[in-house]
């Protein structure tokens, strides 16, 4: 890796000003993704601004019934937080399904959201990649695509976003609190990450120098019985081939509301709004669950090498909903 300066930031405004002013400066969280990228030559910063000291690192209840998660909170701590486990189990489960104990101890909430794709061509600087070097081409087409997108991809990029936590946060309608050079603003979790379109180099809507300071969850009582189902080859320590975060509000045998997001299928956590719409007001029979899943995946476009993923996504979605409904019924 190239030599770089390291600075430990003491306040958010200062950190933002420093990074915003230097196109080759970057924030450093737990470093579990960024340090790999330094070694692989994927990024080449001249300054790392460590933000782990200044960011809040706890969970606090908000007056409106929601909660606020500090962006510096480590993945392990967030997963173990009693409030999160009780009110938003899907988030805790998603975190615990990711990476390994050691990595979760180091990884931060902010860094987790901004971790980059695991596409093997993105990670190898000797190969063309539009995300790494815009305009150089996409090597994934015609290559190793097992972990690649089936929804919302473009001819320029079929990478997926790898975060499990982000999938749960999307389902929960979280809001990301961002500090920029012109102050604080709030971005809906579902809007944070982008689809690749013709600018796959941009993972998110954030600007250079924007610092994530917190994530807020709305009050969502039925999320107390939410769940995260991650499908992968290895029983642990593997990225999702497909994952489903879901919460269902069921009363009198009818689904009032559903919150569903899919992971491993798109350039961003895929909020399954079509499936949600299909389910709203429906009786949760095997047929309706399946119809909802099929509606969501109607536009799935696998590429050579991941043809199995629409079926896998459909089955996983149906199975997760079925389990949730079953749990509600027997409560």
């Amino acid at each position: 890796m190239n030599p770089f300066d390291y600075r430990r930031a003491e306040d958010a405004a200062g950190a933002v000003a420093t990074v915003a002013a230097d196109p080759r400066a970057m924030f450093l969280g737990g470093g579990t993704n960024l340090v790999d990228h330094l070694k692989l030559g994927i990024v080449d910063p001249d300054l790392l601004v460590d933000v782990t000291r200044l960011l809040p690192d706890g969970v606090e209840p908000l007056p409106d019934g929601g909660v606020r998660i500090g962006a510096g909170m480590r993945n392990s701590d967030l997963a173990a937080d009693p409030l999160i486990r009780r009110r938003y189990p899907v988030l805790s489960q998603a975190l615990l399904s990711g990476a390994s104990g050691q990595l979760r101890n180091a990884a931060t909430t902010g860094g987790n959201l901004l971790q980059r794709t695991r596409c093997v061509y993105f990670q190898d600087v000797t190969m063309a990649c539009n995300k790494r070097r815009p305009g150089s081409g996409c090597s994934a087409f015609g290559g190793y695509t097992r972990y690649h997108a089936i929804l919302g991809a473009s001819e320029h990029c079929i990478a997926t976003h790898p975060s499990d936590m982000a999938v749960a946060l999307s389902a929960l309608d979280a809001t990301v609190v961002v500090q920029g050079t012109d102050g604080e603003r709030r971005v809906a979790m579902t809007e944070l990450h982008r689809l690749p379109g013709d600018a796959p180099e941009r993972d998110t809507v954030l600007r250079h120098g924007d610092l994530i300071t917190a994530v807020e969850l709305p009050d969502l009582p039925f999320a107390a019985r939410s769940r995260y189902r991650k499908v992968r080859d290895r029983a642990s320590y593997a990225f999702a081939l497909v994952s489903v975060a879901a919460a269902v509000d069921l009363s009198d045998g009818v689904i009032r509301e559903a919150r569903i997001a899919l992971g491993g299928v798109a350039h961003k956590p895929w909020r399954a709004t079509r499936a949600e719409a299909e389910l709203r007001g429906a009786r949760p029979t095997e047929e309706t669950l399946r119809a909802a899943a099929e509606a969501e995946l109607a536009e799935a476009r696998p590429v050579e090498g991941n043809e199995f993923k629409p079926t896998l996504a459909r089955n996983t979605l149906v199975a997760t909903l079925r389990d949730l409904v079953e749990e509600e019924r027997t409560r």
Partner: protein, 691 residues
């Protein structure tokens, strides 16, 4: 022959003794190659080809040389000429030719590893690129028959297939896999007037010494290789690979200064070998009761165009089952790839996948229990050679395994059992590995300060050699283990063969037994201080008379998720017949380690080659999956008492590799039982089961 050890009163052999090197390892004081503390080391980072085939036209090293701390950029222009380039893989920096992607075409030597790595990135290489071909397929028209494995035909397999009432004829595949020992390949090379010293992560200090001496035209006495502790090798640290040669070439440019090189995990996917993928057409001809009339395997494997290596996957078919008609063939595809090498149980491991799944298919076709089917086809003598077995207890392993596993009540019908959304099944496969012995070892025993100092240049690659050789020496000398001081892992010790082919314990152990005998003959039981004797490994005439193999039976329970197709293995149980077990603790660790690696092969391991780039693209441990803790649930290894008077004075057979053999077939067979879906390709990933 084994009488010698029967009569000792101390009986260290067979005792459950903890690793003598254990405390040093868990406290971090055991020194691995890269960790030797030497004065003012320089660091080396390889430059690797980014084209698959062609030649280097020009290096532009200006920016690299400008990096602070860079000492020199090494290329074929300034590297020393080697004395012997007969092994093309080791002809490092001897020409501008590029024969595979990732090949070492240069290196940067710097004061820090960071500077070396940064400078490598700044070297610009201009190539003359040629077209390449890395596509492995059995349909290639340029496959050839390797000299070391001519077609082996007994009787008439085609005729047997045509006339048999029941036949199986399918193609099975295993992927490219990488050895991936925990400790990366690493070297410290020091070139001084006296010669070359190498601290090397290797499976054999003496073979490194002799190979390096030949390459550099040195008297072997001027090369010293030191490797007290090695963090795994699985074959990839057996034969030499380019990095050690590169380190020595660099050290030569910097006389007197230690040069350190540790490969990155990504580089290990390019430079230190791998298991060839295999395509196996397996044919079985049988009577309705399952008795085989014919068995055949046609293997296709790959090799590098510039260096031949054959994965002899047809081998176990010479050994396993009786059948009058037999045909074993091997074909190689020579590609623009790095050479394959040994990986744990080369030949046997992939070679017991296709045939053992085919046997399960035959069991289903005949309606015969798969354990019983194997028992019915038990040969009296080794089928291909006609020689008697020194001992063969496959049937005992199958029966004992069936009993322990609870096989008896098994309903053979597939897709009948479901628990919590998981389809559940069980399967079995046989296992075998030859009992070899490598020539060339010498051991010395010296009595000094009240201790017996036993010296042999053996290698402990994590297997437990430090411990079991101490036990063997103690029994051979008739003294407690505390009276023995063992030294291994240094080429200044008496010569030792490689840790490979599961021959370490039996070759070095038999040598130590011979040296102990010589010592007692010469010096009696009350030796004087300084008394010494040495001996080489004696010939064993039984090796010509008998076929010598270990056997085993592997049982698996598999769950396949009905919705997602995820595959899990809640239970694996192996029973082995591998002669006398020298130390149950280290032996169990070898068996369960092998079985875990077999599970890993069944479900996960897959080096994905992108033919456009000519290299493995999932080249790190996040993307190349190896079984992790959560994948291994209830895994048991057992063995039966087996007395074999012929194999060697210890009565022991090698155990390092047999554990991986057959595991994948047992798991695939269990998945069939769970789901009714027959998978014939590895790894067995979830898409096979999706509907």
């Amino acid at each position: 022959m084994s009488g010698l050890l029967e009569n000792t009163s101390t009986r260290a052999i067979g005792a459950d003794i903890g690793r003598v090197d254990g405390p040093a390892k868990v406290t971090g004081t055991a020194t691995y190659a890269f960790e030797h503390q030497l004065n003012a080391p320089a660091y080396l980072h390889p430059i690797q080809a980014t084209v698959v085939r062609g030649r280097v036209r020009e290096f532009d090293t200006r920016d690299a040389e400008a990096v602070p701390g860079v000492l020199t950029v090494l290329t074929h222009d300034n590297a020393a000429r080697l004395a012997d380039i007969g092994d093309a893989e080791l002809a490092v920096l001897q020409s501008d030719e590029v024969a595979h992607r990732g090949q070492v075409i240069g290196a940067v030597l710097a004061e820090t590893p960071e500077a070396a790595r940064q400078a490598v990135r700044l070297v610009r290489v201009h190539y003359e690129e040629r077209s390449h071909d890395v596509r492995f397929s059995a349909a290639r028209t340029d496959l050839y028959t390797p000299g070391e494995a001519e077609d082996d035909e007994q009787g008439d397999l085609a005729g047997a297939m045509a006339s048999a009432p029941v036949t199986v004829d399918h193609t099975y595949t295993t992927p490219m896999e990488h050895n991936n020992p925990m400790e990366p390949h690493s070297t410290i090379a020091v070139w001084e007037d006296a010669g070359l010293t190498l601290y090397e992560s290797t499976q054999g200090v003496h073979s490194v010494r002799s190979t390096m001496a030949e390459l550099f035209g040195l008297d072997p006495e001027r090369v010293r290789v030191i490797a007290p502790h090695v963090g795994g090798g699985f074959g990839s640290k057996g034969p030499l690979h380019p990095p050690v040669v590169l380190a020595a070439l660099a050290a030569r440019l910097l006389p007197g200064r230690p040069v350190k090189l540790a490969l990155t995990r990504q580089q290990m996917f390019d430079l230190v070998g791998y298991r060839s993928p295999t395509i196996q057409r397996v044919r079985l001809a049988a009577e309705p009761d399952g008795r085989l009339t014919g068995i055949g395997i046609d293997v296709t494997a790959q090799t590098a165009r510039f260096k031949e290596f054959l994965e002899q996957a047809g081998k176990p078919t010479e050994v396993m089952y009786a059948a009058p008609n037999r045909r074993i063939t091997h074909r190689l595809a020579a590609l623009d790839v790095a050479p394959p090498t040994w990986m744990r149980a080369p030949g046997e491991c992939p070679g017991m996948f296709g045939p053992e799944v085919a046997m399960d298919e035959l069991a289903v076709a005949c309606g015969v229990d798969p354990v019983e089917l194997r028992v019915r086809n038990e040969p009296g003598t080794e089928p291909a050679s006609g020689r008697p077995f020194s001992s063969r207890n496959l049937v005992a392993c199958l029966r004992e395994g069936a009993r322990r596993f609870g096989w008896q009540d098994r309903d053979p019908e597939p897709r009948r059992r479901m628990e919590d959304g998981w389809l559940v099944g069980t399967g079995v496969a046989a296992s075998t590995y030859p009992t070899g012995q490598m020539p060339g070892s010498v051991a010395a025993v010296r009595f000094e300060d009240g201790h017996y100092h036993v010296r042999i240049g053996a290698a402990d690659i994590g297997t437990g050699a430090w411990t079991v050789l101490t036990q063997i020496a103690a029994d051979a000398l008739g003294v407690p283990v505390t009276a023995v001081r063992l030294r291994i892992g240094d080429s200044s010790l008496p010569s030792a063969s490689l840790a490979g082919g599961s021959t370490g314990t039996v070759s070095w152990g038999s040598t130590i037994v011979a040296a102990a005998q010589a010592f007692r003959e010469r010096h009696g039981t009350a030796p004087a201080d300084g008394a010494e004797a040495r001996a080489g490994l004696p010939d064993n005439p039984n090796r010509e008379r008998y076929a010598m193999h270990a056997f085993g039976a592997q049982f698996a329970e598999v769950r396949v998720h009905a919705d997602t197709g995820e595959v899990r293995v809640p239970r694996l149980l192996g029973v082995f017949a591998a002669g006398r077990i020298v130390n149950p603790r280290t032996a169990r660790s070898q068996f369960i380690g092998g079985m875990t690696m077999g599970l890993s092969m069944a479900l996960h391991e897959d080096s994905v080659v992108d033919p456009r780039f000519g290299c493995v693209v999932n080249h790190d441990l996040a993307e190349y999956h190896i079984a992790a803790n959560a994948d291994v649930v209830d895994l048991q290894a057992h063995w039966i008492d087996e007395a074999d008077p012929y194999v060697n004075p210890l009565g022991a057979k090698g155990i390092g590799e047999i554990g991986i053999v057959g595991t994948a077939a047992a798991i695939v067979n269990a998945a069939y039982h769970a789901t009714g879906v027959r998978v014939r390709e590895l790894p067995m990933t979830l898409e096979h089961f999706l509907a």
